[in-house]
Assembly symmetry: C2
Homo-oligomer: 261 residues x 2
């Protein structure tokens, strides 16, 4: 049976989970949209709570449809409803519901084993957030610690921008003031990325030890209170214009981190 009513409770639930962070928190669940991203999620070994396919997607992704139908309750909806619940302009009609991942603590084994951490202070743009998480995984960071006012990692835009890294990388929402203190107590040297020509250049930093890099808000940078707690300030030398995009600055520093470690 193909669901065609917007009042159907599964349709309503998916619509809410996709559109609204509060609803995601209420259910401790989120929806992963799109074939490739959903396939990535399953390949990480996470089990879906439920799934919704459009009539079109059942045919187009027939093998994946059969696979998912064996794993969880799967509902088929009309193509129109797929467009209704989607937050993309050209929905593929594949939607999987997952439990939110457990949040690791900034203590214990994770921090004992970690060597490379990225800290994010109030990133504003969802596209930047997704790209930063994707790059952090690709360049071998052990975790990303971020202020809770960063874009929700379970929003469609961050999930897609991260290319599935949200399912794999350690992602820890935290107050950065206490996080930086904890990291320093645990032997990390902490570097704050600033727009200050007097700060150290990336290649003057010794990344060959437990280190954390802090990237700040797109407009205001890292908050002074947090920069003051850091061991060192880093400046990426640039020309003419005033700043780099936050995801670009993060990428250059993580790349230097990888080179230097």
């Amino acid at each position: 049976m193909i669901i065609t009513s917007r009042k159907n409770e599964i349709v309503l639930k998916y619509k809410k989970l996709i559109a609204d962070k509060k609803e995601r928190l209420r259910f401790a669940a989120f929806v992963c949209e799109g074939f490739k991203l959903s396939e990535d999620a399953l390949s990480c070994g996470v089990m879906p709570l439920s799934a919704v396919f459009t009539d079109f997607a059942v045919k187009k992704y027939a093998d994946f449809y059969k696979k998912v139908a064996k794993l969880c309750k799967l509902t088929v909806i009309s193509n129109d409803l797929g467009e209704y619940i989607s937050d993309t302009t050209t929905p593929q009609g594949v939607f999987l519901e997952f439990h939110m991942r457990e949040k690791p603590e900034i203590s214990g084994k994770l921090i004992a084993d970690a060597k490379k951490l990225l800290l994010l202070d109030h990133i504003q743009d969802s596209g930047n957030m997704g790209t930063i998480i994707r790059t952090a995984e690709a360049l071998g960071m052990d975790a990303v610690i971020f202020t809770p006012d960063c874009p929700d990692i379970y929003s469609g835009k961050v999930l897609r921008g991260s290319m599935g890294s949200v399912f794999r990388l350690n992602l820890i929402p935290a107050d950065l003031v206490s996080a930086v203190k904890t990291l320093k107590e645990n032997g990390f040297s902490v570097h704050s990325c600033v727009l200050d020509d007097d700060a150290k250049r990336p290649d003057e930093i010794n990344f060959n030890r437990k280190s954390a890099i802090i990237i700040g808000n797109e407009a205001r940078g890292v908050s002074p209170q947090i920069t003051d707690l850091a061991d060192e300030k880093i400046y990426i030398p640039i020309e003419k214009i005033q700043s780099l995009n936050a995801a670009v600055a993060a990428a250059i520093l993580m790349w230097e981190f990888k080179r230097g470690s």
Copy 2:
């Protein structure tokens, strides 16, 4: 007098220039939207052809309004019309019309003087295009040469993403096959960024000479025909996932270029 009709010819022209690349080409003009970006444009010394301010913007940006009114014909429109012509969700109500910049040739003085070039093969995403242009200026590239199927540099999204770099950096649409040939004839070594573990690492490349880097399409990379023409292939070593965002890959290579030169 404040214009309130959607049928006003200036309103119609601005709406078309903002929304439609064909109209921009027809008039050889484009609209720069937003206070900061417009201020940046003027500070580069380019003269506006005309300007439109909303009633709200006339008051909010009073000094800038007076400055612009001395430079060109300025039309005041209602706030509603500002929203109507804008392609942003929260328009500031400042719109300046400019002539398109002249397109430099890949020959002559520019190439004789240039040392660092970035080549873009069919970038798809406007956000990436803007970020890449912004980063290219910040990291001191002499020009960006791009296939004409890349996002229009005069679209609002690219202009905003570039943070005004579109007004300052040499940007050259070109067929990359003949561009790469011309560059090689002019003493450039050309490096194609690929997803191939056998290719050279960025720090194995000698960037201390006239060099060009090619970044490819988000999904398909640099086309094989163009990679075959390049002197060397570069691979940014990454973990687990399959690729970096195009703007991130471009940033890491331009950063290495800056470091190595």
